[in-house]
C-alpha cells in the first residue's frame, strides 16, 4: 500500500507535467527538450524560498511559477516567430545551461549535493487533487477558443495566420502555460521528496514526457494521460524491468510510431458522448470521433 501511494504520487506529479507537454506538443505541435529544466527551476526556486527566505509554501509555489514563466518569456521571445525546429534546439541548450547553472551557484543550490532538507509538506492527496485540477484545466483549454487556435496553428501555421490567428502569440501562450505547469510539477516534486538533485532534470526526462504523450496518442488528452500513467506505473511495479526501462520505452514507442503513428488512443477522447457511442450498437457508431 505504501508503495502504491508512492507510485500514485509519482504518477500524479508526472501527469501535471505531461499536461504541460500536451498543451505544448499535442495542441500546438512544438517540441521542448528543456521542459525538465523548468521543473528544476520550479523545484529549486520554491525550495529555496521556503528554506532560505522562510516563505509560506503556497506563496513559494506561486513565486516559483511566476519566475519560470518569466524565464520562459525570455527564452520564448526570439523563437516563437521562427520555424518550430528552433524551439527544440533552443530548449535543449537551455536545459544544459540550467544544469550548469545549478552546479555553479552551489552556495544557494547545494551544487552537486543537491538541495537538502526541503520540508516534506506535500502528501499524496495534495498531488492527486492538483493533478485532477490540472487535467480539468487542460481539458477545458482543449475545447476552448484558445485550444482550437492552437490546433489550427499546429496543422498549418500559414493558413491559421491567414484566418486571423496571431500564430506567434498562440505559440508563446502555449509555451508559457507549459512552463507554468512543469514548474508546478517541480514544486510538488521538491516538497514531496524533500530533496532536489541537479541530475534529475536532464533532457532524458523531457524526452520521456514527449514519449509518454506520443505513446498514448498525441492528439488525445486521454491518450496522453494514459501514456503518462502507464509508463510511470510499469517500471515501478516491475523492478526487474527498471534496468531496461528506457530500452522498453523506446522499443514500445518505435513499434507504435511505425505501425500506429497516432498512438494507442488516436484522437479518441474520454467523454460521456464518446463512451456512449463506444458501447452503442454497431449501426450508430461513426468513425469520425
Amino acid at each position: 500500500m505504501k508503495l502504491f501511494l508512492y507510485v500514485l504520487t509519482q504518477v500524479c506529479i508526472t501527469l501535471v507535467s505531461v499536461c504541460g507537454i500536451y498543451i505544448l506538443t499535442g495542441l500546438t505541435g512544438m517540441f521542448s527538450l528543456g521542459s525538465a529544466a523548468f521543473m528544476a527551476i520550479g523545484a529549486y526556486v520554491s525550495g529555496l524560498l521556503v528554506l532560505k527566505a522562510g516563505l509560506n509554501m503556497y506563496a513559494a509555489f506561486a513565486a516559483a511559477i511566476i519566475f519560470s514563466v518569466g524565464i520562459g518569456y525570455v527564452i520564448g521571445f526570439p523563437i516563437v516567430r521562427l520555424r518550430r525546429d528552433y524551439i527544440s534546439l533552443v530548449t535543449l541548450g537551455f536545459g544544459e545551461s540550467i544544469a550548469q547553472l545549478i552546479l555553479l551557484l552551489s552556495q544557494f543550490t547545494g551544487g552537486a549535493f543537491g538541495l537538502i532538507g526541503v520540508p516534506r509538506r506535500v502528501n499524496v492527496w495534495f498531488t492527486l487533487i492538483s493533478a485532477v485540477i490540472v487535467i480539468a484545466i487542460t481539458a477545458f483549454f482543449k475545447t476552448s477558443k484558445f485550444g482550437r487556435q492552437c490546433i489550427a496553428v499546429k496543422s498549418d501555421e500559414l493558413a491559421a495566420q491567414a484566418m486571423g490567428i496571431n500564430a506567434s502569440r498562440v505559440k508563446m501562450t502555449a509555451f508559457l502555460m507549459s512552463c507554468a505547469l512543469t514548474s508546478f510539477a517541480g514544486c510538488l516534486y521538491a516538497f514531496y521528496v524533500g530533496y532536489v538533485g541537479p541530475t534529475d532534470f536532464g533532457w532524458k526526462k523531457s524526452a520521456d514526457w514527449v514519449i509518454m504523450v506520443f505513446f498514448g496518442g498525441v492528439n488525445s488528452l486521454t491518450g496522453s494521460i494514459f501514456g503518462g500513467a502507464f509508463l510511470t506505473f510499469l517500471p515501478q511495479y516491475m523492478q526487474a524491468l527498471n534496468k531496461y526501462r528506457y530500452i522498453v520505452y523506446a522499443v514500445l514507442v518505435l513499434i507504435i510510431l511505425n505501425f500506429k503513428p497516432n498512438g494507442v488512443f488516436g484522437e479518441w477522447e474520454l467523454s460521456p458522448r464518446n463512451l456512449k457511442r463506444l458501447f452503442s450498437p454497431k449501426k450508430n457508431r461513426r468513425e469520425d470521433v
Binding site: 505541435g29 517540441f31 527538450l33 525570455v74 527564452i75 521571445f77 526570439p78 523563437i79 516567430r81 521562427l82 520555424r83 518550430r84 525546429d85 528552433y86 527544440s88 534546439l89 533552443v90 535543449l92 541548450g93 537551455f94 544544459e96 545551461s97 550548469q100 547553472l101 552546479l103 555553479l104 501555421e157 500559414l158 493558413a159 536532464g202 533532457w203 532524458k204 524526452a207 520521456d208 514527449v210 514519449i211 506520443f214 498525441v218 534496468k243 531496461y244 526501462r245 528506457y246 530500452i247 520505452y249 523506446a250 522499443v251 514507442v253 518505435l254 510510431l257 511505425n258 505501425f259 503513428p261
Partner: protein, 290 residues
C-alpha cells in the same frame, strides 16, 4: 587573445563542426532535427573503445572503427526509425519523436553496458604537447584539427563534384521531384544517414579523446546544434563557420570564466543570434513551406 587560446578554440571548433555537419546533412534532406545524433556519437565512441582501443591498437584503427560503427548505427536508425514514416508520408513531427526515441534507445543500450562509469581512451601520443611559436598546444588538438579538416574537405568534394553529391543536393532540394527524375531517393537518404553517422562517429571518438567517455557524452551534441543555429540551420558551410566561431568563443570564455560559465555564455550567444539574425551567418533561412 593569445595564439594558444585561438588554436585550442579552432581545434574544439573542428570537432563541433563535425557534429554540426552530421546534424545539418540529415536536417537538409528530411527537414527535421535529428536528436539521435548525440547518442549515435556516444554509442560509436564506446564501440570503438571496447572493440579496438581497449586492445591497445593505436589511434587510426580506433577512429576508423568509431566512424564505421557510426555509419552502421545511422543506417540501422534510418531503417527502424524513419523508413516507414517516410513511406507513409506521415507528418514531420513523427520524424522528430522517432529521433528522440532512437536517442533514448541508444543511450539506454550504452548505459546497460557501462553504467555510469567513466572510461578513458589510452594515451595515443608519446609527446603530449608541441610548441608553435610561443604557444604550447597539445598534440591531440593538432591531430584532431588536421583529421577534421581532411574529412570536411573530402565531404565538400563529394557533395560538390560527384554524382552522388549532386543527387544528395537534388533530394535535399525537393524529394518528390528528384524521385521523378529517376533518383533513388531511398538510397540517397540511406547514404546521407551513413555519412551523418560517420561524422558522428568521428566526433564521438574525438570527444572521447578530449574529455572522458561517459554514457552522457552525447549531450555535447548541443554544441553542434548551437553551432548550426548560429551558422544558419540547414547550411553546411554555415555549420562549419558557426562551429569555428563557437569553438573560439568558448575557448575565450573558458579562459576568462571557466567551463561552467562558458556553456551558459554560448547559450546566451545563440539567443542573441536568434534575436538579431535568426537566419544565421550563412543566411539560408529554411522556411516552413505553405
Amino acid at each position: 587573445m593569445s595564439l594558444q587560446i585561438l588554436l585550442n578554440g579552432i581545434s574544439t571548433g573542428a570537432v563541433y563542426s563535425l557534429i554540426a555537419i552530421g546534424f545539418a546533412l540529415v536536417f537538409n534532406i528530411l527537414k527535421f532535427s535529428n536528436f539521435s545524433h548525440g547518442a549515435t556519437m556516444t554509442a560509436s565512441a564506446f564501440i570503438a573503445y571496447f572493440l579496438v582501443a581497449s586492445k591497445g591498437w593505436g589511434l587510426a584503427p580506433t577512429l576508423l572503427c568509431s566512424a564505421l560503427s557510426g555509419a552502421i548505427i545511422g543506417l540501422i536508425g534510418e531503417f527502424i526509425g524513419f523508413r516507414r514514416i517516410l513511406l507513409n508520408h506521415s507528418a514531420p513531427t513523427y520524424f522528430f519523436v522517432s529521433s528522440i526515441t532512437l536517442g533514448t534507445l541508444y543511450e539506454g543500450l550504452v548505459t546497460l553496458k557501462t553504467g555510469t562509469n567513466f572510461y578513458v581512451y589510452p594515451n595515443f601520443f608519446d609527446v603530449a604537447t608541441v610548441k608553435i611559436f610561443d604557444a604550447v598546444v597539445s598534440k591531440e588538438n593538432i591531430i584532431i584539427l588536421a583529421i577534421s579538416a581532411v574529412a570536411l574537405i573530402i565531404l565538400a568534394f563529394i557533395i560538390q563534384k560527384t554524382s552522388i553529391g549532386r543527387q544528395i543536393r537534388a533530394v535535399s532540394f525537393d524529394r518528390d521531384t528528384a524521385k521523378l527524375m529517376g533518383i533513388n531517393s531511398t538510397l540517397i537518404i540511406q547514404v546521407v544517414f551513413a555519412i551523418s553517422g560517420f561524422f558522428g562517429g568521428l566526433a564521438g571518438c574525438f570527444l572521447g579523446i578530449k574529455f572522458t567517455l561517459t554514457s552522457t557524452l552525447g549531450s555535447l551534441v548541443v554544441k553542434g546544434f548551437i553551432a548550426s543555429v548560429i551558422g544558419g540551420l540547414g547550411s553546411l558551410t554555415g555549420a562549419v563557420i558557426g562551429a569555428m566561431l563557437l569553438g573560439i568563443m568558448e575557448a575565450l570564455f573558458l579562459s576568462l570564466w571557466g567551463s561552467g560559465w562558458a556553456t551558459i555564455a554560448s547559450f546566451a550567444l545563440m539567443l542573441v543570434f536568434l534575436l538579431v539574425r535568426p537566419q544565421g551567418i550563412a543566411g539560408s533561412n529554411v522556411q516552413e513551406k505553405a
